[in-house]
Every structure is written in structure tokens, then in C-alpha cells.
């Protein structure tokens, strides 16, 4: 089966499922798809490029807030709002990435941690523009070509976002850029000796994945038709990191599995063990790293090799 047919098939399957789900399951499904999308781009940044960052949710938020503000506060036309939102994400990402190329490892983590917190402060102090601590609500997705996309059709949009993100990352991964990223991750000095522009590679990787997160944020803004500061907070950034670790950093399948598992787990565990489920999470993460640092995907590989 040609690759294009495979992608089409996946799209149809994932989008089609939405039409058979109840409202509640559809809602959970949509948020699951968004988390998987975020995990994929985060996995590229963290697993493949080796950059620890906590800013992913901040860019998710920049995308979401900017599209809502441009559309409903400044009343810009839809396509322009989207473009400006993406431009904003790229701008902020460059502003963080370019100076950080001189920093290694946990310094970037710290800078992005600070960025994530600053973002929340700005949101809270933003007054009428950002809606302050209460956020923005009472808006709807604008009509596109005369119709308003809603319900399972909007889920299809999210499926397209997911597959689009995966496609972009997959191609990149297999290209020379992906190899350069891995080289930089494993040993920057050797990579530089081999002719890779280490700083540029890091900047492009960071900017690209952050922009992808921003686009996902724009799609998110119309899922609940509400944006407020707690959604984009640090707790979620940690959860995203855990997802990628448990699933298996560096592999797309790992991001998908980790995101699906850690997102759905509270829904399953909460009725069973009440409020202890977060504790179970922490234990799972520690166990995952101790027993199989390559994550669930690594476990699967190991089992395949020694059946």
C-alpha cells in the first residue's frame, strides 16, 4: 500500500471514529488527539534533538490566546489571525532559542521554565486583553466558507492537525536534518567537527517544534471555546515530559503511546482508587525509567527480540 493511501486510511479511520462516539467520548477523544500532537512535537525536541524544555505549553498557550485575541479583540480576518499567531510563536521561540544556544542541558530547561512562568504572569496581568485570571470565553469558531465546523467535523480537523504534525516530523526525522539533530544530541563537539552547524540546528528545532505547538493551541482554542491561565500551566508541562519518557523518548510511536496512556489513565483510575491516582502516576514514571529507560516502545522492542 502506498504511503499516501496509508495516511488517507489513517485519517479516515481516526476521523470517522468521531462520528460514532457520544458527546463525552468525543470530547475526551479530541483532547487525547491534541495531547498526542503535543507529545509528538515535544518528543522531537526532547527525544530526537536532546533539548530539555518546559516551554511547550507556553507556546500552546501563545497560539491559543493569540488567535482568540486577534479574532475577537482586534477583529482581524480569520486567515490573518492564524498567520499572525504563528508569526508570534516563531518570534518568541527565536527570542528564546537564539540566546540559549550557548547554554547546554539544564540551562535551557531553566530558561524555558522561567519563560513558562512569565507567560502565566503576563496572562494574569493582561487585564482586558487576555481576560486576566478568568481568561477569555464567549466566542465561537468563525464561519468558514459559509459553514461553521463543529462536532465530529471539528474532531476531523484535529485529526488532520495530528497527522499533519506527524507527517512533518517524520519527514524531518528521516532527512539529514533529523540526523543532524541526533548528532547534536549525542555529541555536539563531534557533530560540529562533522560540519553540522550546531547552533543553527538547535534553533531551528526549537522554533519549529514550538511553532507546531502554537498551531495546536490555535486548534485547541475552539474545542471548549474557553482559554484561561490554568490550562497552560507548568503542571501540564511536567505531564508532557512524563508522557514522552514513559512512552519512549526519541520514537514517534513512543510519544503516541505515552500520551495516550498518561492522558487516559486518570479517567480509568479515578473511579477505582479515587484521589490516589496521581501517586500511581509518579510511581509509574519512576518504574518506567528504572526498568526500561527506553520506555514502553523499548519494552516492546525488547520483547520482540527475545520472544
Amino acid at each position: 500500500m502506498s504511503p499516501l493511501l496509508r495516511w488517507l486510511g489513517a485519517a479516515l479511520l481516526l476521523a470517522g471514529a468521531a462520528f460514532f462516539l457520544s458527546d463525552y467520548h468525543n470530547d475526551v477523544y479530541r483532547k487525547l488527539l491534541l495531547w498526542v500532537t503535543l507529545a509528538l512535537s515535544y518528543n522531537f525536541l526532547f527525544g530526537i534533538c536532546g533539548q530539555i524544555a518546559f516551554s511547550h505549553f507556553a507556546f500552546y498557550g501563545i497560539g491559543a490566546y493569540s488567535v482568540v485575541i486577534f479574532l475577537f479583540q482586534f477583529h482581524l480576518p480569520f486567515p490573518l489571525a492564524i498567520l499572525l499567531g504563528i508569526a508570534l510563536c516563531i518570534l518568541f521561540a527565536l527570542a528564546v532559542a537564539i540566546p540559549s544556544t550557548r547554554l547546554e542541558g539544564f540551562y535551557l530547561a531553566l530558561a524555558t521554565l522561567a519563560l513558562a512562568q512569565l507567560f502565566i504572569v503576563v496572562l494574569n496581568e493582561g487585564g482586558a486583553v487576555t481576560g486576566g485570571p478568568g481568561g477569555l470565553a464567549n466566542y465561537k469558531l468563525p464561519e468558514f466558507l459559509g459553514t461553521r465546523v463543529r462536532g465530529p467535523w471539528y474532531t476531523a480537523v484535529i485529526v488532520l492537525l495530528l497527522l499533519g504534525t506527524l507527517a512533518v516530523l517524520w519527514r524531518l526525522d528521516r532527512s539529514w536534518f533529523g540526523r543532524a539533530c541526533r548528532a547534536v544530541r549525542d555529541n555536539p563537539e563531534v557533530a560540529a567537527a562533522m560540519g553540522v552547524d550546531v547552533a543553527r540546528t538547535k534553533v531551528i528545532a526549537f522554533t519549529l517544534t514550538s511553532a507546531l505547538a502554537g498551531v495546536a493551541g490555535m486548534v485547541y482554542a475552539f474545542v471548549d471555546n474557553t482559554v484561561n491561565p490554568p490550562i497552560f500551566g507548568l503542571d501540564n508541562a511536567f505531564l508532557l515530559l512524563f508522557m514522552v519518557i514513559v512512552g519512549g523518548a526519541g520514537r514517534h510511536a513512543g510519544a503516541i503511546i505515552g500520551a495516550a496512556l498518561l492522558f487516559l489513565l486518570p479517567f480509568v483510575l479515578s473511579p477505582l482508587i479515587g484521589h490516589h491516582h496521581v501517586l500511581v502516576f509518579g510511581v509509574l514514571v519512576v518504574a518506567a525509567i528504572l526498568l526500561q529507560p527506553r520506555g514502553l516502545v523499548g519494552l516492546y522492542d525488547a520483547l520482540r527480540r527475545h520472544p
Binding site: Y24, N124, P266
Partner: protein, 375 residues
């Protein structure tokens, strides 16, 4: 003949209890930042539901509470609202964070399902979205400041300080406190914020001291940070009166702020002398072995009002419940003596503007009521 009727009546009663229960959804927080408030509120609701069922239920049917935990995550909150609606809940009670309640509204508005928060006090909940299916019976921030100011009128305040924290509710209350103060023509000489995680409030209190206010109003809702404010106040030997939001009515301050809160006035919706309150405390203690406090009362009143609305609607049709709810006039545990919850003129915030009381801390205990309402 009479015997036949008696048997028929008994059979009828028995069979109606065998009918399906009325499902009421409850969205609360069991693990996140709202837990200290959500937990007692939920316990109050559970107690209320058990009492309703013991007395025969609603419309001859039992009430079944479907409880969900949103972990203080607003996006999960909205999904849970959908889940409850799918499961057949005819009413949703929201007892989690203010943004979570807000996010659930987008769902209940679309699904035309009645929703109420008995606890949240953010004024914007009923104004940000035109959702006719949502009601709020928690004491609004605007009512809190108006009540405090009415009590403080005798102090002839000209310039005051306002201090809060950087939580979303703290900021919201600060906004409405500010508006209330400005409306009364009182100048805000200093406005400070103590961020979450601060190790001291001394710099903020120094600025306030330098502004020499007639009084200080506290709008913060984070316990640890409020305690820092009290500590700095005592350490500097300051003397101006402190007036606080209803957050000070939570009993935890009696243990973590020992020796620090004597004389602090706060606004509350709980009058311990009210006969309904005394009865509530007695029955709750008998049933559970623990004494309740004001947060339990919010949850209790909430479920009682929902049950009463369904009774008046005469059915579980959501539209009829909505109409009945809007006509509510109910005297509950919370509020000043004689207060009733009601939603006049199509408004959806139901706490009577004159229904709050001002109390004062006497030593470390929550003391008597010193003022009622806004007069």
C-alpha cells in the same frame, strides 16, 4: 374498601421507590489546589442528599449523586460535564475552581442542562457567558466588599490599603473590592500582591505601612500567603483594622494563625446563632461524628435547592427545572437570619446582597456577628 385503598397506596409507594433514581452530577476536586474547599463542600452535599433520600426522595424517587473529580484542571472539567450529561444527569453542581466552573458552562449552555455552583464567588461567572442554565449561589465578591464597607462606615475610612495574592480568585476578588471601594469614594493608598510561594510578606507590608492607611482590606484566598501577611502585620506592630474576604471564615486559620488574628473582621455567610445552622451542626455531627463548618453548609444548601426546584418543576424535564430554579425562594443554612436565596428579574446570582454577616475573631476563635447586610 379502606383496606384495599391502604394496600393500593402502600403498593404504589413501594413501586415508586423502585423507580429510577434522579441523577445529579457533582464535579469536585479531590487532588488539586481547590481540594481544601471542594472536599468539605462535597461532604455537605453528600449529607444533604442522604437526608433527602431518608425523607422520601424527590417526586417519590431517590437522588443519586454522580461524583467526578476534575483535579482542578479546567479542560478535564468540561469533558466531565459532558460525561455527566451523557449519563443522564439532570443537574450539575460545580464545586471546583472558578475557571473549571466557567469551562463547564460552555458545555451546559450547549447541552441546555441546568448547572449551579453553590460555592464559587467570582462575579464574572454569571456575566461572562449568557447561559440561562447556570446559577450561582455562592456569596459574590461584590457583596462581600459592600457588606464589609457597610460595617466599616462607622470608621469613616478615607484611605485604605488593599492586599491580595496572585491566584485567579484572589485577583478577581481584588478587582471587585477595588470597584466597591472606589464606588464608596474611598481612596486606595496602596495595593499589593503576595505571590504564591513567597517566603515573607514584609516588603508588601512595609509599603502599606509607609502609605499609612486607615484600614487594610484583604482579598487573598491562599492560606499560607494570608498567614504571612498577618505575621508581618504583627511583627511591625501595626494597628489599623483589617477587614477580610470570606476566605478568613475557613476554620484552618484558627490553627495556622494562632495569636495573629485577634480583632480581624471578616465577612461570612454563616451565622452560628441562626437556628437552621444550629440544627444543621447537630444533625451533621450526629450523622458523621464530625462537626461541620461553613463550607459544608454551601454544599448542603446547594443540593437542597436543586431538590426543591425539581420538586416544584414536578418532573425531570430540564426546561421545567430551569423555570422552577429561576423561581427559587429558599431559606437555607447559609446567610444571615431570615435570608432567602432568590433570582429576581432574571438574574442568575442568587445570594441575597444583604445576606452576609461581618464577624470578628475573638482571640483565635471565630466570634460573634457584628454587622448584618449592607445597611
Amino acid at each position: 374498601m379502606r383496606k384495599l385503598l391502604a394496600v393500593a397506596a402502600a403498593l404504589f409507594a413501594a413501586s415508586s421507590f423502585a423507580q429510577e433514581p434522579i441523577k445529579i452530577g457533582v464535579i469536585t476536586d479531590r487532588v488539586g489546589v481547590s481540594k481544601p474547599y471542594s472536599e468539605p463542600c462535597t461532604e455537605g452535599t453528600l449529607f444533604g442528599a442522604a437526608e433527602i433520600n431518608r425523607r422520601g426522595g424527590v417526586l417519590g424517587r431517590k437522588i443519586e449523586l454522580l461524583i467526578e473529580d476534575d483535579q482542578s484542571r479546567p479542560d478535564i472539567s468540561a469533558a466531565l460535564a459532558r460525561k455527566l450529561i451523557d449519563q443522564g444527569a439532570v443537574f450539575i453542581l460545580s464545586m471546583s475552581l472558578t475557571p473549571a466552573t466557567q469551562q463547564q458552562q460552555t458545555v451546559t449552555m450547549e447541552a441546555k442542562t441546568p448547572q449551579m455552583t453553590p460555592m464559587n464567588s467570582g462575579d464574572t461567572l454569571t456575566t461572562q457567558l449568557p447561559n440561562p442554565y447556570f446559577w450561582q449561589t455562592g456569596p459574590l465578591g461584590s457583596i462581600q466588599i459592600a457588606t464589609l464597607l457597610a460595617h466599616a462606615r462607622a470608621q469613616n475610612l478615607k484611605r485604605v490599603a488593599l492586599i491580595s495574592d496572585n491566584s485567579d480568585l484572589g485577583q478577581l476578588l481584588a478587582r471587585f473590592f477595588r470597584a466597591g471601594l472606589e464606588k464608596s469614594g474611598i481612596q486606595i493608598a496602596a495595593e499589593e500582591v503576595v505571590p504564591r510561594g513567597a517566603t515573607t510578606a514584609e516588603p508588601q507590608m512595609q509599603k502599606i505601612r509607609a502609605a499609612n492607611p486607615d484600614a487594610m482590606f484583604m482579598a487573598g484566598v491562599l492560606t499560607a500567603e494570608n498567614v504571612l501577611i498577618f505575621k508581618a502585620y504583627r511583627q511591625f506592630g501595626l494597628k489599623f483594622p483589617i477587614h477580610s474576604s470570606y476566605n478568613l471564615s475557613v476554620p484552618v486559620y484558627m490553627s495556622v494563625a494562632k495569636g495573629l488574628i485577634d480583632g480581624v473582621t471578616f465577612v461570612d455567610a454563616y451565622d452560628p446563632d441562626k437556628p437552621e445552622v444550629k440544627q444543621f451542626i447537630a444533625e451533621y455531627t450526629k450523622a458523621t461524628g464530625k462537626a461541620p463548618f461553613n463550607l459544608h453548609g454551601y454544599g448542603y444548601d446547594g443540593i437542597m435547592m436543586v431538590a426543591e426546584a425539581i420538586r416544584r418543576a414536578g418532573s425531570t424535564d430540564k426546561e421545567k427545572i430551569r423555570e422552577a430554579m429561576q423561581q427559587t425562594s429558599y431559606a437555607g443554612v447559609m446567610g444571615a437570619k431570615g435570608m432567602k436565596y432568590s433570582f429576581p428579574e432574571g438574574k442568575r446570582a442568587g445570594f441575597d446582597p444583604n445576606g452576609m454577616v461581618v464577624r470578628v475573631y475573638e482571640g483565635d476563635r471565630q466570634g460573634r456577628v457584628v454587622h448584618v447586610g449592607q445597611k
